[in-house]
Symmetry: C2
Subunit: 725 residues, 2 copies
Amino acid sequence: MSSSLEAFFHPRAVAVIGASRDSEKIGYALVDNLQHCGFKGQIYPINPKSPEILGLKSYASINDVPDEVDLAVIAIPASQVVAVLAECGQKGVPGVIVITAGFGEIGGEGRKNERLLVETARQYTLRLLGPNCMGIIDTIIPLNASFAGGMPLPGHIAFMSQSGALAQAVLDWACAEGIGFSRFVSLGNKADLTEIDFIRAWGEDPHSKVILAYLEDIRDGAEFMALCRQVTRQQGTPIIAIKSGTTAAGTRAVSSHTGSLAGSEQAYDTAFKQAGVIHAASVERLFDYSLAFAYQPLVAGNRLAILTNAGGPGILATDAAERAGLQVANLAAATINRLRALIPDIASALNPIDVRGDAFEDSYDMALRLALADANVDSVVVILTPQKLTRVEETAQVVARVVAEMNRAEKESPTSNQSPAAVSIDLPLTPKPVLACFMGEAHVKAGISILQEHGIPNYAFPERAIEALQAMWQYRQWLERPLVQPPRFAFDDDRLRQIFAQVRNDGRVALAETESHDIAAAIGLKVPKAELARNREEAVALARLIGYPVVFKVASPEILHKSDLGGVRVGINNDLEARGAFDLITARAHRFAPGAQVWGATIQEMVTPGREVIIGMSRDPQFGPLLMFGLGGIYVEVLKDVVFRIAPISEAEAQAMINEIHSAPLLRGVRGEQPPDRDAICQALLRVSQLVHEFPEIVELDINPLVVHEQGAVAVDVRMVITPE
Amino acid sequence: MSSSLEAFFHPRAVAVIGASRDSEKIGYALVDNLQHCGFKGQIYPINPKSPEILGLKSYASINDVPDEVDLAVIAIPASQVVAVLAECGQKGVPGVIVITAGFGEIGGEGRKNERLLVETARQYTLRLLGPNCMGIIDTIIPLNASFAGGMPLPGHIAFMSQSGALAQAVLDWACAEGIGFSRFVSLGNKADLTEIDFIRAWGEDPHSKVILAYLEDIRDGAEFMALCRQVTRQQGTPIIAIKSGTTAAGTRAVSSHTGSLAGSEQAYDTAFKQAGVIHAASVERLFDYSLAFAYQPLVAGNRLAILTNAGGPGILATDAAERAGLQVANLAAATINRLRALIPDIASALNPIDVRGDAFEDSYDMALRLALADANVDSVVVILTPQKLTRVEETAQVVARVVAEMNRAEKESPTSNQSPAAVSIDLPLTPKPVLACFMGEAHVKAGISILQEHGIPNYAFPERAIEALQAMWQYRQWLERPLVQPPRFAFDDDRLRQIFAQVRNDGRVALAETESHDIAAAIGLKVPKAELARNREEAVALARLIGYPVVFKVASPEILHKSDLGGVRVGINNDLEARGAFDLITARAHRFAPGAQVWGATIQEMVTPGREVIIGMSRDPQFGPLLMFGLGGIYVEVLKDVVFRIAPISEAEAQAMINEIHSAPLLRGVRGEQPPDRDAICQALLRVSQLVHEFPEIVELDINPLVVHEQGAVAVDVRMVITPE
């Protein structure tokens, strides 16, 4: 794993600063955990008052330790932490865990002290975990540098939590459920080390088959996305995350349509999806999914076989599969015939395969082999209800044996696949995931233990097994989606910078309409011909030049929603109407927006009607440019039928946005209409994506509407707000 | 409980026909369970081969039993069941449970034998449970007339299951979870007794505070709805159901828009909602909800206080509440001040109330009292994570004590409410539900047991507690919704019957357009003026009479989708155009629908444009007339933005339908448009509701569009299909 974190992952000597002989103290639990976790390195308790703690020689200060120390764990009052951290630095300790709370999370003085901590760490180039965390646990080294109550079971799940208390509860619960971990870290206040560091380290860790994260915030959204994409795609390690809490709405700009529709939860959800991170809706699901990923091969497709000894749970599984977008597989005719031939009195040889309530393990054996051997099947859920004649343990053993044979078959040559079943059924060469649902408690407990020992996750209810498969299928689709780079267009960057500079020079943040149109033109979008008329006579001259009929809009950088105050007149047909329109809209602007600068009127070409769409962007504090697409008018205002992506996007993602809105069929042409130019929409999305990605000064943008014709599209109304500096 | 089922609920003597000495046999388990459940009546094993079974005298036949028998349980081969049932009848046994399988569920001969069973039961006026069931269990009598593995814990939940195997697993699981039952029944094939009988009996059972049902079908939808409405409203017993499996699409009519959108799952969901039945999405939720209902007072509102000793789970609960439509309560200023004053170092006195990780039980005590006392709070979720200093058992005891005091306070006078807390905090006189979420396993186990003993349900994760509160809130809203009878309009019933008779006389099922319009007119809807023209010259004459411009539509009972084959011409302005239109559409009809009867053309008044809506009905096999409403055109075709109700509906329900569609704002007038006449829509819905309710021969109906003006609405296109006889 990552070498800069070597101290956390392979420490040879650990010091506990604030070690204690009082079993009620955290400093006791830390030493106790280190002593009983199997850690093979040195442990140095540091406490000026006790010469010996838990049988170990204790030192007054880290500086008194005669040998090198890799990792120091600090659990002393907050006021002393900075000084002690400096001592660690002087000693040359490369890694420090600060357990102590009372820093950033209490605000004010605490926040200041946390900054001091980070500065001290930087000064000595040491890395810091915490403060306000419960520490780190590793079942592989092994190491327990935390005050958790006991060591978790070993396993393949790496788990990070931004809440120590939640983690304590979850580790306790996981232990009872038989869920094992490779690594665990409590992130605390993330003053130095963050989720980024551990995702990077665990992504290349052969002991961790899946990364779980409970996160309350993400500091650097772009880095998070880039890293997760790499870990989930190149390294093939799935990441499952639960994100709790939402950013206060007050911190967000909301003057645009996009801004009002793009919540912070929206941004997280979008970012997770684009980075291949599986978003769990509850802690229970976080672990349900993780078991499937940690212990079973990834599913190759969405066709599921359900094997059961009772109709009811089979139907429940079928219903859940339908809701989850999985397909209850159509078994091959050969499979159905062999099921009928091999299993006497089978209740259903169709899927769900019902071996009947009185089935012994041999029926499960044959049915499971046949289901796995069927090329139409990608995964199997084995349901068992404890009935009168059910042999729970024997059935669990049979399931474990078949799965083990399948996994062996992959490694060995196909001919060595010797089945102990009465008839030979060739298991697939590529393993398929098998999840179990042995329902009940006392009657099935022993069976579930056998399954768990053999790495077959068991779920209390069929719905939960199905949801885990759904998460696997989602990850498989992510892996198979081609990752294409966004295209790169040549923009007139000088012109763009010049406009932004002009706006700032004027002390404005909102662009005037002509400026927004110039920006749109500079990135290659078609805009209506338009000119600024400063007075009535200029208006007439320009209207003639553009050609009647034209549109008059009040020109004012302060008035964003022009039609709301009667500042727009369409269908102006002649000089007389032009004069009247100029006077009317400028007068209204003065009256309804007193104090606003009024430059005159924008005279604009009338655009042929077409399908109206909206392209928008709102800058999310974590993830940056959140791009929005939808149909214009009531579709966005009333139905809120819009989709989001974090920019920059590839062409495939732009196409996906266009297809994902509910009203997408309207863009394919309905009732015999000619369809609008979808390619022009796609191009506009890609160009806006590049613009907002390359110019972070743009905080909000709405093109509403982009009028799409059979050929081409025109950005009729463009609004933009930039940062003041 | 219901007297006709007295034999099942208060038997004095039970016979087991097919009793066995072989412990592998069901006939053994039945006798064994009866003997060990505490049943106080007589037990008579019946088996011609054994004179004694499990220490009881055995009889060769039911006729040999010297005394009266109330309840017989039959577990013998299927082929002998009918004869033995007749013997029971002759003996005068009023209640029989048939455990034996191999009847309706295997089809063919089995179905025939099941009919024989029912006929025999009717002949002797005995009531029959099953066949193919696992029996009945009652912890109140007590009685265990089932072959389940052991007796469930006593409790307040009545549970029925249409899957015996599922029930066995669930009872086993529930026992480990500490979930207790009052009554349990395995419904089996429901040949005689069904969910209806047990819902009726349990609805008036003081021992059952909530009814749970796992159902795979419902035979009589209308009766089910009427009964559930009564039980959930008048008797105040909540019903929570999970319905698995969907009717095959093949059995449903789908020639209409409504038919294609109204699936069987839709019908169940709608019916449950209208009958006050809480629809659980999984077995886990079925029980999560039931615990809250069985042990806690019903919630009065949706304002929730979250009490926690850790930030993370508090945020998870907040997120879940938001998703569930619950409100994280704004605590009263007095509550916040007292929290700050009473709990030193409180991390947050806002909601979620964070008493901090080092909180002892006294902080929980005061915070819980203050939250309950706050008039802004309707329910409390108490979250505990096991941290270093957490006193889990003491905290559980405190929670139990406060809840008990609150419940006592309700019964006694307010002044007797003496709080043992350091400061007096008046608990509310009306109890509020308190749910717990003690997270973890080994560290919290003892605490959870204390909570359970005191009737405080504990949930493993905050999200599950919140969902249980959401179910309670849903039930509360149901109780408070006024139940108004549908209005009754005077229809021209003779005219309606005459039209249906005419259609059938012609051997048709689809109504011609003029007939559908006549029906609409007969129920008081406005329809466009229209007349049938049999030839070109009649067409001209009628067009003049109605007044140009007019619409021409091909008149054919076989052509339902006229515009698809060019059979509609709008905006016909003069005689010349009228002649051309007549020739064109009749020619097209002959060409594109060869063999269809073509009567000529319907000449119809042009209706002023307005907002187009669709009102439809599709008859569901279980629940009957499934009424649909939505906006017409793309809103129904592309966006599928429609809502459903089972007819008949009240005016409030019609209004609710209009408000529930996503595009409802368009019916309130957008962008300065005059809103369409919502009252006219409501009236049309009510009239159609009465029509389809009173005339079950109508199997499908689409009014598409109903054109709604500022005043009034016109049913422009009406399609209807009736049963052949």
